[in-house]
Symmetry: C2
Subunit: 315 residues, 2 copies
C-alpha cells in the first residue's frame, strides 16, 4: 500500500479529514473486493453493488481516526477499516431480507435481494463476512500477527451472539414475532430493552472499531479504556439519532423506507421514550462520549468533532 | 484443555479413532457454544439445535487426523476442528433456507428455519460464522499467533467467493434460476460445470480442513502439498457419493429429503454423468486421494482408511 503522511490531528479540520480518509477507504475497498469480471460474476457484482451504495463509511473512519488519534498510521488501519465496512454491509443485506425487515430501498437504491434475488443476497452477505476475516488475517503483514489477532478477536466478539447478531435477535424479539413467542421472557421493560438491543446491535461494533484503531496504534491500556467508553456512548448516540431520523425523516432525504420501524412495531428509542426525550438521550450520550476523552487534550479533537457531527446529522 | 496422549496413528483402528476423537469434538463443541440459559436464549438454542443434530463431524475429524498424522497433538487442533464444524453448520442452515434449497428436513429433524423461523435461521448461521473466527483467533494461546493466523487465512479463503460460498452461487446458476438468467454465460458445459461447483462448494473447505491440520502440526511444505492433493480429491469423492446417495437413497436412512436435487434440476454428478459413471468417478477420486499419501508409509493409514470408509458409506 502507498505511504500517507500522518495527519496533524490536532489542527486538521474534520471535514477535510473525512474527505481525505474517505477517499483512502473507497480506493482500498475497490482494491480488496473481487472484480466483477471474475467468477462467480453475479456474486462479485452483488458484493460491489452493496458496498458501493453511498454509505457514510462511519465505521472505517472511526477505525482510522482512533488509530491516528493515538499515534498510529492510517495505512496500518486500512485493512481493518475495510473489514468493518464489509461486515456492516453484510449485516445490512441480511437485515433487509424479506424474513427480517423486508426493506425494498436502501441509500436510494433497491436493496440487494430486490436487485439480485433473495438467495444471492444471503450468499452476498456471507461472502462479505468471510472476506472481512481474510483481510483482518492478511493485515498481519503490516502490523504483526499478535496485533492482527487481537483485532480479529475484538471484532469477532463484537459481531457475535452478545454483539451485533445478538442485538438483531433482541430486535426481532422486541417486535413480538409470533414464531419467537415461546421466548416471551424478553423484553422485561421497554425502556431498558431498547438500550439492550442497541448496545449489542449497533454500539458493540462501533466500540470495536474504535478499540481496533487503538490496538493498531499500540495504544496504552488507559487510552483503550477511554476509547471503549467513547465508542460505547457514541454508538448509542448514533443509534438514537438513527431512530429519530427514521421516525421523523423523509424517505427522499434518507434514501430508504422511513417510518418502517413504527410500521413493524419495532422497539426504538422514540417508541420507548418519545421523540423529545430521545433527542435528549442522544445529546447526553454524545456528551459522555466526548467526556471520555477529556484527558486527551488536542489529540481528541477529531473524535470529539466527529461525535458532534453525528449528533447533528440529518441523514 | 485436558491433555490427551498422541495416538499410535499407524496401529490405531479407524473406528476406534473416530469414536475417541468424535467424543473430544462433541465435548469441545458443547463447551464453546454459548449456553441456552444466557441471552439471547432463542439464538443460543437455535445454534445448539443445529450443531447437535447428529452430523458425521467429518470436517473436524479431518483436521484432527491430518494434524496427528503429521505429528501434531489433537488438543492443539480442537479449536480449529470446532470452528470448521460451526462453519459447515452455518452453511447448511443458509443452504436449507426457503430462498435457497427450501429443505424441510435435515438429519431426521426439522431444519433450523422450520424449527425457529426464517429470520432467526439467517442470524443463527451468521452467529456460528462469527463464533468460528473467534475460536480460530483464540487458538493462538495454544499454537501461537503466526500459526493461528495462517489457519484463519486458509479457512477464510476456502469459504469465500472462490470457495464454499462461490460454489453455492454456481450451484444456483446450475439450477437455471430466472433471477440469475442475465449471468447465463455459466455453465458452459455440464460435465465441467459440476466439477467446478463441487471443487468450490465442498472440496475447498475439506481441503482447508486437512491443510489446517497440517499447519497446526508444523508439517513440512512437502507434507502440505500431499495433504492439499489428498483433501482436494477426497472432497470431490465425498460430494460425488453425496449426490449418488441423494439420487438413489431413501429418506428414512439419510434423514433428509431425497431426490430433491433432481426435483430442483440441480447440476449434480448423476445428472451430468449418470449414476454408474458417477460411482466410477468416486472410486477414481478416492484412489487419487490415497495415492497422494503414497510416500507416507504407515503414517497415512488413518487418512487413507477414512477415504475408503467415506467412499463406501450408505448415509
Amino acid at each position: 500500500m502507498r505511504e500517507h503522511p500522518p495527519p496533524p490531528a490536532a489542527t486538521l479540520d474534520l471535514a477535510a479529514y473525512m474527505a481525505s480518509r474517505g477517499r483512502l477507504v473507497e480506493d482500498a475497498l475497490a482494491a480488496v473486493l473481487p472484480p466483477e469480471t471474475s467468477p462467480p460474476t453475479p456474486l462479485h457484482a452483488a458484493m460491489r453493488y452493496s458496498v458501493f451504495a453511498g454509505g457514510k463509511r462511519l465505521r472505517p473512519l472511526l477505525v482510522l481516526a482512533a488509530c491516528e488519534a493515538t499515534g498510529g498510521r492510517a495505512d496500518d488501519a486500512l485493512p481493518t477499516a475495510c473489514a468493518v465496512e464489509l461486515i456492516h454491509t453484510y449485516s445490512l443485506i441480511h437485515d433487509d431480507l424479506p424474513s427480517m425487515d423486508d426493506s425494498l430501498w436502501r441509500r436510494g437504491r433497491p436493496t440487494c435481494h430486490v436487485a439480485f434475488g433473495e438467495a444471492l443476497a444471503v450468499l452476498t452477505g456471507d461472502a462479505l463476512h468471510a472476506l472481512a476475516f481474510r483481510l483482518l488475517a492478511r493485515n498481519a503483514e503490516q502490523v504483526g500477527p499478535a496485533c492482527a489477532l487481537r483485532v480479529i478477536e475484538e471484532i469477532a466478539e463484537a459481531i457475535g451472539t452478545q454483539g451485533m447478531v445478538g442485538g438483531q435477535v433482541l430486535d426481532l424479539l422486541g417486535e413480538g414475532r409470533p414464531e419467537l413467542a415461546r421466548w416471551a421472557d424478553w423484553p422485561h421493560d421497554r425502556q431498558r430493552g431498547v438500550y439492550e438491543i442497541h448496545r449489542w446491535k449497533t454500539a458493540a461494533l462501533i466500540r470495536a472499531c474504535v478499540r481496533a484503531g487503538g490496538l493498531l496504534a499500540a495504544a496504552s491500556a488507559r487510552q483503550l479504556e477511554d476509547l471503549t467508553a467513547y465508542g460505547e456512548h457514541l454508538g448509542l448516540a448514533f443509534q438514537v439519532v438513527d431512530d429519530i431520523l427514521d421516525e421523523a425523516g423523509e424517505a427522499s432525504r434518507l434514501g430508504k423506507d422511513t417510518r418502517t420501524d413504527a410500521a413493524r412495531a419495532k422497539l426504538t428509542f422514540p417508541a420507548a421514550f418519545g421523540v423529545e426525550r430521545s433527542r435528549a438521550i442522544a445529546r447526553e450520550e454524545t456528551a459522555r462520549a466526548v467526556a471520555a476523552l477529556a484527558g486527551w487534550g488536542p489529540a481528541a479533537r477529531l473524535l470529539t468533532d466527529l461525535a458532534q457531527v453525528l449528533l447533528e446529522r440529518e441523514a
